[in-house]
């Protein structure tokens, strides 16, 4: 049930401050809260182009984390009803209007007391509309 839910809303937002990035809202692909340390994969494509992992960061409760930082945050919980902002840094601005976007989120579900790792992966494809400032 999570695949179609993980991109929240229909909009891409321009980043404030004039940097040519965008952000979108995402949901946790699981039925209960997980710490950010369990968010193992965040993969994004915009207009079919994959985004480099280093250009992606997450904002939860007002604090921004790179994906590498998130891996170390086992006491920062992503509450199941909350959206996180997914930021994508870009070299060139994105044109206003519609853009096909895919997001793949992979979580480690930390149940097991052995080496076995259960992973939940959700993938969502949506056309989002860039709103706000005219680039």
């Amino acid at each position: 049930m999570f695949d179609e839910q993980i991109i929240n809303g229909e909009l891409l937002y321009p980043e404030p401050g004039g940097a040519p990035g965008v952000r979108l809202r995402i949901r946790l692909p699981w039925y209960r809260s997980l710490p950010l340390s369990c968010i193992e994969r965040v993969e994004v494509t915009i207009d079919g182009e994959p985004v480099n992992r280093a250009e992606v960061s997450l904002t939860l409760d007002g604090l921004n984390h790179t994906l590498d930082e998130a891996a170390g945050l086992h006491d920062v919980w992503w509450f199941v009803l909350d959206t996180a902002d997914l930021h994508i840094r870009r070299n060139k601005p994105l044109s206003p209007g519609d853009h096909p976007v895919t997001v793949t989120l992979g979580c480690r579900i930390p149940y097991s007391a052995t080496d076995f790792v259960f992973r939940q992966v959700a993938r969502c494809e949506k056309t989002l509309t860039l709103v706000g400032r005219d680039w």
Partner: protein
């Protein structure tokens, strides 16, 4: 034996997962729905689903929870806790970290008025946590969930028997006792376009209980891809092969039960879980705790009236209690 139920019925709010996740029902609305089943209805929550401050308990949630319990005349039954041994990237929790993490959750359960905390079989449960649970009067119940089977848990059962404390026992999940895979699961995979030949093979293989590796390789050999592999994995982790009679092996140590079910049709039959037999075994075994109805069809569809499904399961349980009273004692 009379047709009276020896145990109490309730609901886990996890049943409303789809409606809760999609913002259709709030926590308070879920509690109200459970309240419509009648005064004294049991209620169970999954800690990190309902509590924003998890693993800690905020005063705000404590207040909201207690208000909703009172307003809807509910009875807190079990708190779903998590050991999460892999919470830290790259290593397992240490014994001390594991103990502290669960101690916090046992304390939350106690403050909310839950007599039972559902958890998993990690080491501190058998040692350091026991005096704490006893002090707070909270029973720790190790969940038994598919693909695990009572029949194959001899070591853990013996450990619990040796400790022989009313504060350490088991929470069997009824999904461990299936006669087949659930209809809603099969339908969903067909809707997603699963290869029908491979799907039929998975359902047939399920009956033979192959290992995860054997199942995966069979599916691969037939040309199955990610979707078929997911269907194979789900068949193992949702639909267990235990015999309901195996409940007798742990009967004195059952502290709570998850009445897992996937979908009840118009004839009142659950499509996978062996409820008639489960109810009869529990009744004849004198089980006197709670059963939380746990609807899990939401994993494959959001288009069911969850409350109606729960009503149907509770009616089935009451009916089977009466029927087992009329049947000769086994």
């Amino acid at each position: 034996m009379s047709g009276e139920m020896t145990f109490h019925l309730g609901v886990t709010l996890y049943s409303f997962n789809h409606e809760f996740y999609t913002y259709r029902y709030s926590f308070e609305e879920c509690m109200e729905l459970v309240g419509t089943l009648g005064a004294g209805q049991g209620v169970e929550i999954v800690g990190p689903q309902m509590i924003r401050s998890f693993p800690e308990l905020s005063e705000e949630f404590e207040r909201r929870f207690k208000r909703a319990v009172e307003k809807n005349h509910l009875r807190p039954t079990a708190y779903g806790a998590y050991a999460d041994p892999q919470r830290i990237t790259g290593r397992l929790l240490t014994h001390e970290e594991q103990t502290e993490y669960l101690r916090t959750q046992i304390r939350s359960a106690h403050q909310l008025g839950f007599p039972v905390v559902r958890l998993q079989a990690v080491e501190p449960v058998f040692s350091d946590l026991l005096p704490y649970a006893e002090k707070l009067g909270v029973k720790m119940g190790i969940e038994i969930h598919a693909p695990n089977m009572i029949e194959e848990m001899q070591e853990t059962i013996e450990r619990v028997e040796r400790i022989n404390s009313p504060f350490l026992g088991f929470v069997p999940d009824c999904g461990a006792f299936c006669r087949s895979c659930a209809r809603v699961y099969i339908d969903r995979f067909h809707q997603l376009g699963v290869n029908a030949r491979v799907a039929d093979r998975i359902l047939a293989l399920w009956r033979e209980r192959p290992s995860a590796e054997k199942m995966a390789s069979e599916v691969r050999k037939m040309g199955g891809g990610d979707l078929e592999q997911l269907m194979a994995t789900e068949s193992r982790v949702y639909f267990g092969h235990s015999d309901p009679q195996s409940l007798n092996r742990i009967m004195p140590h059952i502290v709570h039960i998850h009445g897992k079910f996937f979908g009840i049709d118009q004839s009142g039959t659950e499509s996978a879980v062996r409820f008639p037999e489960i109810v009869s075994v529990l009744k004849n075994g004198g089980y006197a705790g709670s059963i939380s109805c746990e609807y899990e069809g939401h994993h494959w569809t959001g288009e069911r009236d969850v409350l109606e499904q729960i009503r149907a399961l509770q009616a089935l349980i009451v009916r089977e209690c009466k029927a087992s009273a009329q049947a000769p004692a086994s």
